[in-house]
């Protein structure tokens, strides 16, 4: 994670882990969102993901974000050092 800090505001690239069918859809297991302003809410991050990877638009509605291995609410704040994963299209069992 490379980031630059200006007046307490951190701007940098955010990597979001992605798995399974969604990883096949985007062609990577590590999505990269450049010039992300931290902190960013989960909701805002979801919007940025779909903007950057429009192929995910059909499955984003059944997806949630996990931050540091825990699901977060839509208004949770994500910081530059957090590990972020998109958890969608799960199908255990």
């Amino acid at each position: 994670m490379r980031s630059t800090s200006t007046n307490n505001e951190i701007i940098g690239e955010l990597q979001v882990l992605v798995f399974g069918p969604q990883a096949r859809t985007v062609g990577t297991d590590r999505m990269k969102l450049g010039k992300t302003k931290f902190p960013i809410t989960a909701d805002a991050l979801m919007s940025r993901i779909v903007e950057t990877y429009p192929n995910l638009s059909s499955s984003i509605g059944v997806s949630r974000l996990a931050v540091n291995h825990e699901f977060v609410e839509s208004n949770s704040l994500i910081n530059a050092q957090d590990e972020v994963a998109l958890v969608g299209l799960i199908s255990g069992g």
Partner: protein, 149 residues
């Protein structure tokens, strides 16, 4: 994410590849004394899957992906949650990661309770919750020739 405690014995494992016959849950003497119902659910890979066009197509098997340590943690959290809800004596959860060929099993859930109804309710609700909350993904390996040009 409340902090739950339970007297149940809870074990969670993730295993590479298919899961054979599960080892029976070992119980203490005091657990055996009240154990009236032992239920085992095995989830196995069928020989076809529905593709994006809703058509059923043959598969060689399923590739399971997990996201550790979150997958284990979520499985454990749900096992404790429903074990507490239903007064379960012991529960054992095992799930595959990696490739599981069709005909093989990828998921084994064992639960020990005093009576049948709690065992059935536990299995039903645990699996429902797992399919909603636990980061496990499956990707079909289609059975048709893959071009290796």
């Amino acid at each position: 994410m409340e902090n739950q405690s339970t007297d149940a014995t809870v074990r969670v494992r993730l295993s590479r590849g298919p899961i054979g016959l599960a080892n029976p849950i070992m119980l203490s003497q005091s657990q055996t004394a009240i154990a009236g119902a032992v239920m085992t659910f095995r989830g196995c890979v069928r020989s076809s899957e529905v593709d994006q066009d809703r058509a059923s197509k043959p598969i060689l098997g399923l590739e399971y992906e997990i996201y550790e340590p979150m997958t284990s943690r979520e499985l454990h959290r749900l096992a404790v949650q429903f074990a507490t809800k239903f007064g379960v004596i012991a529960v054992d959860v095992e799930h595959s990661f990696g490739f599981v060929e069709n005909g093989e099993c990828s998921f084994v859930l064992q639960v020990v309770t005093s009576h049948r109804r709690e065992a059935i309710a536990f299995i039903d609700e645990f699996i429902d919750a797992m399919k909603r909350h636990v980061p496990i993904w499956k990707v079909p390996r289609w059975g048709e020739c893959e071009l290796s040009s």
